[in-house]
Subunit: 311 residues, 2 copies
Amino acid sequence: MAEALPGDRLRPHVKAHKCTELARLQHRLGHRNFTCATIREMEGMAAAGLGDDLLLANEVLDTRRLGRLVRRGARVTVAVDSPATIEAAAAGGVREVLIDVNIGLRRCGCDPDQAGALADAAKAAGLEVRGVMGYEGHVVGFESRVERTRKMETCMTLLASAHEAVGGPVRSGGGTGTYDLNTGATEIQAGSYALMDTAYGRLGLPFEPALSILATVISVRPGRWAVADCGLKALGMDHGLPSLADGGTVHRCSDEHVVFSPPDGGHQPAVGDRVRVLPAHVDPTVAYHDAFHLVEGDEVVDRWPIDLRGW
Amino acid sequence: MAEALPGDRLRPHVKAHKCTELARLQHRLGHRNFTCATIREMEGMAAAGLGDDLLLANEVLDTRRLGRLVRRGARVTVAVDSPATIEAAAAGGVREVLIDVNIGLRRCGCDPDQAGALADAAKAAGLEVRGVMGYEGHVVGFESRVERTRKMETCMTLLASAHEAVGGPVRSGGGTGTYDLNTGATEIQAGSYALMDTAYGRLGLPFEPALSILATVISVRPGRWAVADCGLKALGMDHGLPSLADGGTVHRCSDEHVVFSPPDGGHQPAVGDRVRVLPAHVDPTVAYHDAFHLVEGDEVVDRWPIDLRGW
């Protein structure tokens, strides 16, 4: 990613990995600006010395904690999409904002034709408006690159029209699924690329899956199914069932179990075997865990705390 | 629940609430024996002085941590369903087991006709066999009470046949959905009843929902949709989308957002409003959070750490 989008062309989103050690690695690769989804992520990044230029790409009302970061020297920019969030930013001591524009996701963000008026309101409240952001979250997951590209164009047109009314140097957007298609953004907020998951894995992107959960087989019904000790409390399930790195079929999960069958003709699992479980969605999976264990083959070479969890 | 299943007729499952303070309340209501799903839950319960009679209703191989609890005075019983798990229990210093029987769930548990041989193997390994357990997890969720009852009967027949071959005083099973239907078990392992969720809420059980997530509305598109700040990292999603306590329609969730519409003719949400979000599945929801905030109306009267998380 650092080759495709060097330096400030990428503003890595930390919400997928929630780990300041991993952010430090991204920083060493040239990315000094980061994207966050929560106030806690902003605080943790600033405390880790990674507060050169932090964007909270989300609307918040309780901005006092952000104002504290500003007073301590972090550069803090927050997304606003309404008079109420502009007022909160100014009242909390935030100095810089982006106007968040809805470019089709139907989540946060103002209508593109309201962006200029909101920018004027923000300036009137004493805030510096750095530009606009818009996230094409409804586009990043389409498996067809052609379809992603076509839908991306509509999004970029909307964001460009808003940007024209707002001004400022920043047009922020994009994700792992559109990192090289979103040519309209000045910076890309991709995060999942660093760890990947099976949903993004279907898109044919040049990023390898790095994250798996090592589970132990605890029960076997020979020729029928096996059970490993990794379940709903270890896996984000909104994108569906996990997969197994060595193939086979996952039938279902319960709180502490994944029930699976090995691939046809594959190794028949035995109690005590280890299996690598690949999550369908990396972000809510990571949020269940205390730490990443870095491995080379079967050897654990480091442990990185997942220290940006919570709110 | 304590009225329907007093004292040792209920062995509350702590996996749903993961909170020793809530377990202490169950203890004060007369339940001295508890069910756990993880070694961490066993350790936390023992450390909280709630180790009178702890059942790990799950298969484990790394039993050394359980043996340590035994040596420190906790009563520890573990489920076994294979020669490997029996061997692990004996080697780790566990003294008491239940033979885990598959009564139709297709997860862990031996075939009912293997239970007697496994009990003999456990006794030969020096373990005391307290009886059997079997969990009808494939039955507890059926909305029709008639259907739950009918399917329950098959499960009880299977568990009884296994129990006859195994012996011992304990026949453990059941859950919140079958707490009064499973008359074949000597003790019921229900846990969800204490907090409830919308999935169990559809069953017409006499338990009220106690758990909600208080979220703040951060973005509104008047007449179209609103967004509150509670998403995939605050909600177990395997049972589907959450609901709103005040009604309306939840359209979707993303990492930190729930997108919803108010009920027809209901209060139009404004930025800053609070909404109570009800999870579809309580167990993986609780596992994302640090603490319960106990409220009377809008006043927070206590904070109970969710101290049994992790593994």
